[in-house]
């Protein structure tokens, strides 16, 4: 206590000197501390990479719709145009691109069906319905729908 009081006069004389100078004013409000996050933050952890890959499945969705629109257009324009569309689809780079897009579409379907039980907490008589009871029927519907589309196209030879 006594030591603090004895040092006080020297401190005060020191601050008095600094107050004599013109203080520096900042024009803007000082920014809150916000650490800069790298654009590649999601590369650090496999869970983050998976999240970004899952979100990027939407690009494959848009790509598939774009191809579908082109296909509808070429069918409507006539036989020669449709043959050109078939040639385009048979080019090696297109097949590679479509295999990659297909993998992303599968990822979208699987993550989407698995997400449903987490998004909807269905309760029957107070008990939570198991996840498989919600995602299971969606997988069955997926297989049935795919089989129907496949049969319709395959029967049109």
């Amino acid at each position: 206590m006594s030591a603090g009081q004895s040092s006080a006069p020297t401190l005060r004389s020191g601050t008095d000197q600094s107050h004599a100078q013109t203080p520096i004013y900042t024009e803007f409000h000082p920014r809150w501390y916000r650490p800069q996050i790298s654009t590649y933050w999601w590369l650090g952890k496999w869970a983050y990479v998976k999240f970004i890959l899952r979100e990027l499945t939407s690009v494959a969705v848009a790509w598939t719709v774009a191809l579908l629109l082109l296909q509808i257009l070429e069918v409507s324009r006539g036989g020669e145009h449709y043959a050109r569309f078939e040639n385009l689809m048979s080019s090696p780079w297109m097949i590679v691109l479509n295999i990659v897009a297909f993998a992303f579409l599968l990822m979208h379907s699987i993550t989407w069906f698995n997400l449903a039980p987490k998004a909807m907490a269905v309760r029957v008589r107070g008990k939570r319905v198991p996840a498989l009871m919600i995602s299971g029927p969606q997988y069955v519907a997926w297989i049935v729908v795919s089989a129907i589309v496949f049969i319709i196209i395959a029967s049109r030879v």
């Binding site: 979100e55 598939t64 719709v65 409507s76 297109m94 989407w112 049109r156």
Partner: protein
Amino acid sequence: MVNKESEPIFWTLFSAGGVVAALFLPVQLFIFGIAIPLGWMHAPQYIAMRELLHSPITRLYLFVLCSLPLFHFAHRFRYTLYDGLQIKHLNEVVFACCYGIAIVGTLTAGYLLLTL
């Protein structure tokens, strides 16, 4: 553009498009993008494709198959850009581009399928 009132609409379109994309798009791309080009499946004749496309049920199906997944894409890709690239200052441009694609795609599908 996006506020508390309109967000549920965009989310519903995202969700509905996600279901349609999950159920119907993989088989579509598999048949026309992989199986037929690789010769695993016979390609349907042009006449058969034309006939199939002219049926009203096919047209309605294809319209839904084009439109809703594009709105799913718009919502999801918008947030991928927000989170991944952190381009907050471009939020409005990103929004306009993503939903622009969805609206143009939907109108194109509607026009093509109505004027076959």
